[in-house]
């Protein structure tokens, strides 16, 4: 029972305080705590510029959206940024319906998001 989400980290060339974080699976109430822990730990260790690659993120609910907003706020507080790329159309619709697209920094492609760092 429960739901799986895997996240993996990739370095960004020439930017030691930046990483691409790939989300794979469903982000929901059963796993937000573990994701929160990993991303906050990353930021606490000085990686304050993050691009979240959502190409393989199938689903997100309101709890998941909540932590995305939290990451965005936290990164700004630490002088960095939290950007999102490759959002599938269904997930984007949920983000848009709730109005979170106005607060989150969303890019169509990963390269575009990384270049903006």
């Amino acid at each position: 029972m429960g739901n799986q989400i895997n996240i993996s980290f990739k370095d960004v060339d020439g930017k030691p305080n930046a990483k691409v974080v790939e989300f794979i699976g469903d982000l929901d109430a059963t796993n937000v705590e573990s994701v929160l822990e990993k991303i906050v730990s990353l930021m606490d260790n000085g990686v304050v510029n993050i691009v979240a690659d959502f190409e393989k993120l199938r689903y997100v609910n309101s709890t998941g959206l909540g932590i995305l907003l939290h990451f965005s706020k936290l990164a700004k507080e630490k002088g960095g940024c939290f950007k999102i790329a490759n959002v599938n159309e269904h997930v984007y619709e949920i983000i848009e319906i709730i109005g979170a697209n106005t607060l989150l920094d969303i890019y169509e492609g990963l390269d575009e998001a990384v270049l903006s760092l």
Binding site: D28, A29, Y59, S62, T63, L65, E93, I98, A100
Partner: protein, 252 residues
């Protein structure tokens, strides 16, 4: 068996010289104003092209009258042959007469199908629930986008029920789904926590727009999402139970 359906059992080789016989059977049914016909083929060894043509003609005549012809029980060989001839674009191959009856009822009586599932009050049961109901919606002809929206609705409402329901002793969460051709109705039922009345009043306030929605606040995002995705959304308290009801219309 529905009286509105007439079943023809076919047997053996349906070669070209049986076209006339089949044509007469169908003509008789049409003359009797029978608009829904089941062609039961489980004992058919071979279907010739002229017979397939006759089946297609009958299907067309019935469709023009608002009826249908269901092909039932085709063996693998016949099914594959008909597929190769493109008949799958015209007919939906159904496995049994019962499945034809259910399809007829689904398409014409619109009484809906009901599914009730009860889960323990634990968040890790919710993903299976949302997956189940989005899968049912897909099977019933709803779009992928609708299925995703249904997944979201079930997820948010079940999470709320688990988080805010009574904990001592733990009380199950029940989801009742009635699925129709063009809409779904969900009821999510759980036992109130001690503060159940206040919780219901708060949700009612959010549904009615009486409590302003703030995206930066932790609470209320799920309810706001459900509100935006559903045509109707209500919550009530009966005895010691909280009942949330939503209606989701099919995307057209």
């Amino acid at each position: 068996m529905s009286e509105a359906l007439q079943v023809f059992h076919f047997k053996g080789n349906l070669n070209a010289d049986r076209v006339h016989e089949i044509e007469e059977s169908f003509a008789g049914a049409l003359a009797d104003n029978q608009n829904f016909i089941v062609a039961e083929m489980s004992e058919v060894d071979f279907i010739s092209s002229p017979v397939l043509g006759e089946l297609m003609g009958c299907k067309r005549r019935l469709t023009e009258r608002g009826g249908n012809l269901y092909l039932v029980g085709l063996n693998t060989e016949n099914r594959n042959k008909l597929r190769l001839m493109g008949a799958e674009k015209i007919f939906e191959f159904l496995p049994t007469i019962r499945s034809a009856v259910l399809k007829y009822r689904w398409e014409n009586e619109d009484k809906g199908d009901e599914i009730t599932v009860t889960i323990p009050p634990a968040l890790n049961f919710v993903p299976e629930m949302r997956s189940l109901f989005s899968g049912v919606a897909l099977q019933k002809g709803y779009s992928k986008r609708d299925a995703f929206r249904i997944e979201t609705i079930i997820d948010e409402l079940c999470n709320n029920a688990v988080e805010h329901g009574a904990r001592t002793p733990p009380q199950p969460v029940q989801v009742v789904c009635r699925i129709f051709r063009f809409h779904l109705e969900f009821s999510i039922i759980n036992r109130n926590a001690a503060t159940g009345g206040d919780g219901v009043a708060e949700i009612q306030k959010r549904i009615s727009g009486g409590a302003p929605f703030d995206l930066n606040e932790r609470r209320g995002r799920g309810i706001e999402l459900v509100k935006m995705l559903c045509a109707e959304f209500s919550v009530s308290s009966e005895n010691d139970k909280t009942i949330v009801k939503v209606i989701k219309k099919k995307e057209v």
